[in-house]
């Protein structure tokens, strides 16, 4: 079972209280952008085996979106943080590096 702590209300929420929102930190390419960029925004994902940044919504709770850093292979959670963030914050990066010295941000 995956347990993520919602940074908006502080609850350690069970996976079944959350709704998954896919990969975090995507850059949106909207109307007028090149087809290749639009396609990658819509369909192409890292699908990492290992460290991954994701969007989650505390659907059966405070209702807010937040972001999480975890390992997709081990389910180890490195931390959760505000959805109003365009890249992983320094403390999250540090928490990942402490556990995965070989890892570097994409």
């Amino acid at each position: 079972m995956l347990t993520l702590t919602c940074p908006c209300c502080g609850i350690s929420a069970c996976e079944t209280e959350l709704a998954p929102g896919g990969e975090a930190h995507l850059k949106r390419f909207g109307p007028g952008s090149p087809d290749a960029d639009f396609e990658s925004y819509l369909f192409l994902r890292q699908n990492s085996r290992g460290v991954h940044f994701e969007r989650w919504r505390h659907a059966m709770g405070c209702g807010k979106w937040f972001l999480a850093a975890r390992d997709t292979a081990t389910l180890e959670v490195f931390g959760t943080y505000s959805a109003q963030t365009t890249e992983p914050p320094a403390d999250i990066i540090a928490a990942i590096r402490a556990k995965r010295p070989d890892w570097s941000p994409a």
């Binding site: 502080g10 079944t16 209280e17 059966m60 405070c62 209702g63």
Partner: protein, 188 residues
């Protein structure tokens, strides 16, 4: 209007290891906005302090619960909800907010009984850590297949609220969870 109002399951009651009751008409007002800017008016109209994260505070026959970083739930008399909404709307005129009477969109249940058995009955149907929940805090969570919120008025008296459309499901669920022989002895 309130003279014709009927709660979801009037008089529904079931007794097993704890007693489950539909609580009848309950006023519920949703207030959304920048919580930091709402406190003074909420205090004036309800007598309740602004609750901290997930907390509940008491006022003049009113309870105020923290629902999310931008939402409060005000529990009041069913007949007082429309007036409260009107007063809130007037007080926050020109300020970005939402005040809405949701009383008849919801249902409320009361569960009462032995403190540890009561916690077992609740814990069986939700992933929330019921052993960590105490009077003064509201826990929004999943209750088997539906969303709901749980709090304790006292250690032996719990309240559950949910959408009115799932009231029968909620009542049946707790009736089964509270059946005689259903105590699991986890919470002591």
């Amino acid at each position: 209007m309130s003279e014709q109002a009927v709660s979801a399951l009037p008089g529904a009651e079931a007794t097993g290891v704890v007693t489950v009751r539909e609580m009848g008409l309950q006023g519920m007002v949703s207030l959304r906005g920048d919580l930091a800017a709402l406190g003074t008016v909420v205090m004036r109209l309800t007598g309740a302090e602004m609750p901290a994260v997930r907390a509940m505070t008491k006022g003049r026959g009113i309870q105020v619960a923290w629902m999310s970083p931008d939402e409060l739930l005000i529990l009041c008399d069913h007949g007082a909800a429309d007036t409260l909404v009107a007063d809130l709307t007037q007080a926050f005129e020109g300020q970005h907010h939402l005040a809405l009477n949701l009383s008849d969109a919801r249902a409320m249940f009361g569960l009462s009984g032995n403190a540890s058995t009561l916690r077992d009955v609740l814990a069986k149907v939700t992933p929330a850590d019921i052993s960590a929940l105490h009077p003064g805090e509201m826990r929004r969570t999943r209750i088997q297949q539906v969303a709901g919120a749980i709090w304790f008025e006292t250690e032996t008296e719990a309240r559950v609220i949910c959408f009115r459309s799932v009231a029968q499901y909620m009542f049946d669920l707790f009736t089964v969870s509270a059946k005689d022989g259903g105590a699991v002895g986890f919470n002591r």
